[in-house]
């Protein structure tokens, strides 16, 4: 195994992860809701679900990075790794997959694992494995160009 030391950011990533954990705790403590982005988003399309807290949370997620950009004045690194139909096809898979699987990296990964949920553990192992295989195929098999 070769480690990419140039892009490795253990402290920033740990700090960011801790903030994500605090955000999840704060949402549970105040609203009693699980901080799962795909679930919060998909609840917007369901009649009878309360919408205000969802819009407030999602609005905050939109604003947080903008806030950092405004304060630091440095552009936030965001380099795309695919384009065209692969890129937009992936968007559809992310949407349909997280809806069917009842959660994504935040809901299953951060919140579910912290509650020792068996379903979330299975979900995380499944999407991590598929994502690793996918990246291998795209980057190293020649199929991704």
């Amino acid at each position: 195994m070769i480690i990419n030391w140039d892009s490795f950011t253990p402290l920033a990533s740990l700090g960011g992860g801790i903030l994500i954990g605090i955000a999840a705790l704060f949402l549970m403590m105040t609203t009693g809701r699980v901080m799962g982005v795909s679930g919060i988003l998909s609840g917007l399309f369901s009649a009878g679900e309360p919408k205000l807290w969802r819009l407030a949370f999602l609005g905050g997620t939109l604003l947080g990075p903008l806030l950092i950009y405004t304060i630091t004045g440095t552009p936030i690194a965001s380099e795309m790794v695919s384009d065209g139909w692969l890129f937009y096809g992936a968007a559809f898979l992310v949407g349909i997959g997280t809806a069917l699987g009842s959660g994504c990296t935040s809901g299953h990964g951060i919140c579910g694992l912290a509650r020792f949920s068996g379903r979330s553990l299975v979900a995380v192992i499944t999407f991590m494995t598929m994502a690793v295989i996918t990246v291998y195929v795209v980057r190293h098999s020649g199929l991704g160009g």
Binding site: G32, G64, C104
Partner: protein, 139 residues
């Protein structure tokens, strides 16, 4: 309150490097030149949440809502496995999961606008599909 949580979440994603698809892809590329940073994001988030969750659950109700709404469904079924597998493929190809899609939206609106719209379309289809599958199981 949800707004504050969302802002902290968005700031956390930014500092963690989660908004950068090339960094996510570098983490998933364990057979290439591997960037383990994302493991630190997961570890930080899960440990803080696991420890804090015990304290939060000492209360019988949340501060501003009538009750805690935690998933009670426990069985590992086909929608969970199929959905997570499809999500994994999409995540691997794009390096984007739902949180960072939103986090990137105002910074790169021209790149992320259509992507976010298609994620929402996928969520809508997936939600309808899941309801149909659950209904057929009950019937």
């Amino acid at each position: 309150m949800a707004l504050i949580s969302g802002v902290v979440f968005g700031v956390g994603l930014t500092i963690a490097g989660m908004l950068d698809p090339s960094k996510i892809s570098g983490f998933l590329d364990i057979f290439g030149v591997w960037d383990p940073s994302l493991a630190f994001v997961m570890a930080g988030g899960v440990v803080v949440n696991a420890v804090g969750h015990r304290f939060v659950m000492r209360r019988s109700v949340p501060l501003f809502a009538p009750r805690f709404l935690l998933p009670s469904f426990a069985s590992i079924d086909r929608p969970l496995l199929l959905g997570s597998a499809l999500f994994g493929i999409g995540w691997g190809v794009s390096g984007l999961c739902p949180g960072p899609v939103l986090g990137n939206l105002l910074l790169l609106p021209e790149k992320m606008g259509l992507f976010a719209a298609i994620v929402c379309g996928g969520l809508w289809v997936g939600r309808a599909l899941k309801q149909r599958l659950e209904k057929s199981r009950v019937d």
